[in-house]
């Protein structure tokens, strides 16, 4: 039968969870009574103000650059660590456990917290944002890549062993060719995420188009805000398209 007792229980639990969450988040549709205000507010966004377009484009490139640099440096550092954090390639149990601990520690700190720390310690600007993104991505990519290593086919590794290759060479030559399309695919996903993160980091002074959006918003320059938002949307879509194109090419 389609309906089992267990399913009814699940539905009841879900309804209770939804109710509690609505209470906690003050979910209230009656607030839409003031919907007219929203329309008034949004109408101030138009027409767009194109006068600062060149600066905005420059800031978007800064955002792209810091997202790329942060995630790519993260990848470079994560790669070797992921080999020590995979059970089949770790040099010893002790190193395996400590690398895993370091990676999960790095992952557990949200980028916004890292951003607040680095921005305070190193003064405002994109550089601390790069570090925040890099730090977090070492943790994330390190874990993902170590899982790829663990699930790679042991056959080629055994063949390299039988050939008499040194362990390091055996790992490099038998594992990297197997996993690199997936590594790149993970990387592009993290790059896309880094762009979104860098927008948020811009709000706390991390530079780029995010910081410009936040400043325009705070100073009520809504006709600039609309153009900022449009540029951000175009940028995110472009990177998404580019990423999926590259992923298709390599897999």
């Amino acid at each position: 039968m389609w309906f089992k007792r267990k399913n009814i229980g699940t539905v009841i639990v879900l309804i209770i969870l939804i109710y509690i969450s609505m209470r906690l988040t003050e979910f209230d549709l009656s607030k839409f009574k003031d919907f007219r205000n929203m329309i008034d507010f949004l109408s101030q966004w138009f027409p767009m103000d194109y006068s600062k377009l060149p600066d905005m484009i420059e800031d978007s490139f800064e955002t792209l650059a810091l997202a790329f640099l942060g995630s790519f440096l993260g990848l470079l550092i994560a790669l070797p660590i992921s080999f020590t954090a995979a059970w089949n390639t770790a040099p010893s149990k002790w190193i395996y456990h400590s690398s895993r601990f370091i990676l999960s520690f790095m992952r557990s700190i949200p980028e916004i917290v890292l951003g607040l720390i680095f921005l305070t310690a190193l003064s405002l600007g994109p550089f601390p944002a790069v570090l925040a993104i890099m730090f977090h991505n070492i943790g994330v990519l390190g874990k993902l890549i170590s899982e790829l290593i663990e699930s790679s086919d042991p056959g080629p590794q055994e063949a390299m062993k039988a050939v008499g290759a040194k362990k390091g060479f055996a790992y490099l030559f038998s594992i990297i060719p197997q996993i690199w399309p997936n590594v790149l695919s993970h990387y592009f996903y993290r790059f896309e995420v880094a762009i979104r993160t860098s927008l948020i980091l811009g709000f706390i002074g991390g530079g780029g188009i995010g910081q410009r959006l936040f400043n325009d918003f705070k100073t009520f320059q809504y006709s600039s805000v609309s153009l900022d938002v449009l540029i951000i949307m175009v940028m995110v879509i472009a990177v998404d398209l580019f990423g999926s194109h590259v992923r298709k090419r390599i897999i």
Partner: protein
């Protein structure tokens, strides 16, 4: 040249030996086929010969040197003298035929040249010749995952040959190939065996194939050696014992 003394292997958690008190000795020029049904211990045995598997007790001597007294570096030097081919080929995916064959030189170098993918002109020429010997010159720059099973095993053979081995080991190298292709591969192995005067030791499922090529047959059952002799001595009865009889009948049968 290769001597096995009282070799036993028991895997953790198992109550029976996967290999039990094996004593054997092999000389250059022998073409040995090892028979036995699934689980008899064939893979475990062949993996002990180049130290991929450590025995629970017993020894393997290579030219009177004990493999299991060696450190990793010494063992590496022994392994590169033993070419090995596998049932599932164990090629490195996404690399070309040429690149896969060149990995056969890895045992001989330990410098960063390996990392950069640099090979000497001599190595590249030798790889080309070897690829020609196994008949894959027209596939040389193709990725290995695009090849047929028989072609993949030829790449495996070429990789092993590039090691310039003295011993050729095979763990059911034709078990995932059709009969026609299996014959071609065995012909190739036999040619190489004769040309380089190797010691060849191969696990096989197919008794007819083994009888056709081997100069010596060994049969394993439940980890014990139940036959060691010339192919023509392996008669109907021994075939039956190897593949069908229950293990409790074993004791009544003559063991070579």
């Amino acid at each position: 040249m290769l001597e096995i003394k009282d070799l036993s292997v028991r895997f953790q958690g198992n109550k029976d030996d996967a290999l039990s008190h094996i004593n054997l000795s092999f000389e250059k020029g022998e073409f040995v086929c090892i028979l036995g049904k699934s689980g008899a211990g064939k893979s475990t045995f062949i993996r002990c010969l180049n130290g991929l598997q450590k025995p629970t007790t017993g020894e393997v001597y290579w030219n009177n040197h004990s493999l299991f007294d060696m450190n990793e570096e010494q063992l590496r030097k022994i392994r590169r003298e033993m070419g090995m081919i596998f049932q599932h080929f164990n090629l490195v995916p996404r690399l070309t035929v040429m690149q896969n064959v060149l990995t056969g030189t890895f045992g001989y170098r330990s410098t960063f040249k390996n990392l950069l993918g640099l090979f000497s002109a001599e190595e590249i020429n030798r790889a080309k010749e070897t690829i020609e010997d196994v008949g894959l010159t027209d596939q040389i720059n193709r990725k290995v995952e695009l090849l047929s099973g028989g072609q993949k095993q030829r790449v495996g053979i070429a990789r092993a040959l590039l090691q310039q081995p003295k011993v050729f080991l095979g763990d059911e190298p034709v078990s995932s190939l059709d009969p026609g292709t299996s014959n071609h591969i065995f012909n190739l192995i036999q040619d190489i065996h004769n040309q380089h005067q190797l010691l060849t030791i191969i696990n096989v499922h197919d008794v007819h194939l083994a009888k056709r090529y081997a100069t010596r047959l060994i049969a394993l059952k439940d980890g014990k050696m139940i036959f060691d002799g010339r192919p023509e001595e392996f008669d109907e009865e021994k075939f039956h014992v190897t593949y069908h009889a229950a293990s409790n009948q074993l004791d009544e049968l003559p063991v070579h």
